[in-house]
């Protein structure tokens, strides 16, 4: 039977044939599938870093295997490296060994490495898009759960474990079950002072940290279309905090404009062909999803988390919930424990809560537009006395761009610490960390117990809210800034 045209096809047939972007990408990448087995899915881009790859390379050596497609693999060092000046050696012996091991592995197996002294070094999810390696319609994996960031380009991108890293290195394929799809439609327009970070924190607060388990989010709607690529990356980045391994936005002119001319993007006739192909990716009219949710951007406020998972978030004008009003005993128990850890009181306002540290950076909010927003707030002012403010660019390229624009001077003059690129205090593996009991407002993605240092307490928020808070030393609504 020839494929039907939408106008003439019966509705049931149109429905059965209408595909989501996820189904389209999936179908194009299934290598084969045995009955009862997961699909063997071809991978277009494999990003690796120092922390989740060493054991995978050991596995390859034990088996006597090569890396099948070093031309579809790229490495950088980001998690455990210091963000102090690069002319100093890595003081932490274990981190130094790990970074050295990555270099050895990349040399031995022929993998391009943007190492810790390279001009292209940076957080793996910041450099992929920067270099034009992250492309629409691609399957992208990395041994890191924030790989969903690349979904902003209309790629199917997700985090994998080290056994899977080994499999992709050896075969450029993965064994995968077909994911379910979850439409997140964000209608309306964001109000002034409300940003992409607030959209994703609001979604997670609504559905919980397990709400998207087994699904891929597709973010759509007027408010998503209006976002820049960097803002879309912020949203896709935190899909995993809503339980979804991947989240994506269908590519459009914003996507193509961002990609065009980047070092690894196709060019000339190949670019035109690629764009024509990418334009076929958006979900067909009538495509159906396993789950759907609608969020009204008009009603969103800046969001802040108060607890110990990213689902424990509230509008900045709100108050900390009371375990006594939780109907589910497990939720009440979790909330009690979270408030105890955070040393917050049920019913208290989250506004004006003092902080010791402000962290601006990470794969969620460490790109140039994030730094511009923070700098605009801090320009000509000084951070509150006794508050440590760390600004960590997401990549060496972001750092250079910020310095060309004089943002580093603005940050330094305001009393903030301007550092080298890396994951830094988002994961606190490299010595950038909170002391026990300290509070931070952070533009990163996780507020788990001890995430930013043992005993540290994290409030997640947007760069705008974090910068406003830096000035006062207390959680501040950025809409009140003059």
């Amino acid at each position: 039977m020839p494929p039907p045209r939408w106008g003439g096809a019966p509705l049931w047939y149109a429905r059965s044939m209408a595909k989501t972007i996820v189904q389209k990408i999936w179908d194009q990448h299934v290598v084969s599938q045995d009955e009862g087995a997961p699909a063997i899915l071809a991978i277009d881009l494999h990003l690796i870093h120092e922390v989740t790859s060493p054991q995978a390379f050991t596995g390859l050596r034990t088996r006597g295997l090569k890396v099948r497609r070093p031309d579809k693999t790229v490495a950088t060092a980001d998690h455990s490296i210091p963000t102090t000046p690069r002319n100093l050696p890595i003081a932490d012996e274990m981190a130094a060994t790990q970074v050295k091991q990555l270099e050895t592995n990349c040399n031995e197996f022929g993998i391009p490495l943007h190492g810790w002294e390279s001009p292209n070094q940076g957080i793996v999810h910041v450099i992929g898009p920067e270099l034009g390696l992250t492309q629409p319609g691609a399957t992208i994996v990395c041994g890191d759960s924030h790989t969903a960031t690349h979904g902003a380009f209309g790629a199917l991108a997700f985090g994998i474990g080290t056994s899977e890293v080994e499999m992709v290195l050896a075969t450029q394929c993965l064994l995968q079950r077909t994911p379910k799809t979850y439409l997140v439609r964000v209608d309306g327009k964001l109000q002034k002072g409300v940003s992409a970070k607030d959209i994703i924190l609001a979604l997670i607060a609504r559905i919980g940290v397990g709400g998207g388990t087994g699904h891929v989010f597709e973010y759509a709607g007027e408010a998503i279309r209006a976002l820049s690529m960097e803002e879309r990356m912020t949203i896709c980045n935190m899909s995993i905090e809503g339980g979804a391994r991947a989240g994506l936005v269908a590519p459009d002119e914003t996507t193509f404009a961002y990609l065009k001319g980047r070092p690894h993007a196709p060019q000339g006739a190949a670019w035109d062909e690629a764009v024509a192909r990418w334009k076929q990716l958006p979900s067909d009219p009538g495509a159906t999803y396993d789950k759907e949710i609608v969020i009204d951007a008009n009603t969103l406020e800046p969001m802040v988390t108060y607890g110990t998972n990213p689902g424990m978030g509230l509008p900045i004008s709100g108050s900390v919930p009371d375990p006594a009003t939780e109907s589910d005993p497990a939720s009440a128990r979790a909330l009690t424990r979270a408030l105890e850890y955070m040393d917050l009181t049920a019913g208290q306002s989250i506004l004006n809560q003092p902080v010791n540290t402000v962290f601006i950076g990470s794969c969620t909010n460490g790109r140039i537009s994030d730094l511009r927003i923070a700098a605009a707030v801090l320009k000509g002012k000084h951070v509150a006395s006794g508050v440590r403010v760390m600004v960590v660019p997401g990549s060496a390229d972001v750092k250079r761009q910020a310095e060309r624009e004089g943002l580093d001077t603005i940050f330094r003059d305001a009393g903030a610490d301007w550092r080298e690129a890396g994951c830094s205090m988002c994961i606190a593996m490299n010595g950038d960390q909170l002391a026990p009991g300290e509070y931070a407002i952070s533009t990163s993605n996780r507020n788990f117990e001890g995430r930013q240092g043992k005993g540290g307490r994290t409030f997640l928020a947007s760069p705008l809210t974090a910068a406003a808070t830096a000035l006062s030393g207390r959680i501040t609504d950025p809409r009140t800034l003059a």
């Binding site: 290598v31 084969s32 087995a37 997961p38 063997i40 071809a42 277009d44 922390v51 054991q55 596995g59 034990t62 088996r63 031309d71 579809k72 998690h79 455990s80 274990m94 981190a95 060994t97 790990q98 390696l133 492309q135 691609a138 041994g143 890191d144 759960s145 985090g159 994998i160 080290t162 056994s163 080994e166 499999m167 050896a170 075969t171 064994l175 079950r177 397990g210 388990t213 087994g214 995993i240 339980g243 391994r245 980047r262 070092p263 690894h264 196709p266 060019q267 190949a270 998972n309 497990a330 128990r333 424990r337 994961i427 593996m429 996780r446 788990f448 117990e449 001890g450 995430r451 043992k454």
Partner: protein, 210 residues
């Protein structure tokens, strides 16, 4: 690198009545600076188990509670393993001797990682979960037995409860079969797909001047 093999086992239960137990609790990030898989037993739930000076907390965390010593099945709250993709989480569980985690649901990446290391993420409904949690919290040494071939566990009361498991993972674990060998056996399919879909991503060759 032998693939894990699992058939059946039995153990008394360890209670961990917390929801959304995240990977940063299972293995704090500062223990990810290793380049091998072994040696993570003390990293497991480190910050819930140890004081600043390295001594064990008083009262001890469940894993260090003498009443639960030597047990290999953890009963935890909903959405266990939320957070990062670190396979160090199942490596640490394995190093400590945990063979299965029983919960009402698991985070996707953790579940995959656990299965690849022969640790069973066993999802049961809320009623069964609550019964097993009660048994675990009572300290009762009654055994729960798990049989992978029939995908069922037998409760201390003798009830047989089926649990869902990916049939492919089940087959691989029962046979001690290697997933990478399986995919490598499809070499002809992979080559054919590569020829038909060269793609536009090339990490080695920048295509445009910046």
């Amino acid at each position: 690198m032998a693939a894990p093999k699992v058939e059946r086992f039995s153990s008394a239960l360890i209670p961990l009545p917390a929801e959304n137990v995240d990977t940063d609790q299972i293995v704090p990030a500062r223990y990810l600076k290793v380049v091998v898989k072994s040696g993570l037993a003390d990293a497991l739930f480190h910050d819930w188990r140890f004081n600043e000076d390295g001594t064990k907390k008083t009262p001890p965390f469940v894993l260090d509670d003498p009443r639960y010593a030597g047990r290999g099945i953890l009963v935890a709250g909903d959405n266990f393993g939320t957070g990062s993709s670190r396979e160090h989480a199942p490596w640490a569980l394995d190093a400590f001797g945990i063979k299965a985690v029983i919960s009402t649901s698991f985070a996707d990446i953790f579940k995959n990682n656990a299965l690849k290391n022969g640790i069973l993420p066993i999802s049961v409904d809320a009623t069964v979960h609550s019964q097993l949690m009660d048994v675990a919290r009572s300290g009762d040494a009654a055994q729960v037995s798990v049989d992978l071939a029939s995908a069922a566990l037998t409760t201390p009361g003798g009830a047989v409860v089926k649990f869902a498991i990916d049939p492919f993972a089940q087959k691989m674990l029962l046979g001690g079969l290697d997933e990478l060998d399986f995919v490598r056996s499809k070499e002809a399919d992979i080559e054919a797909h590569e020829r038909a879909h060269p793609g536009t991503v090339n990490t080695k060759a920048p295509q445009a001047a910046k």
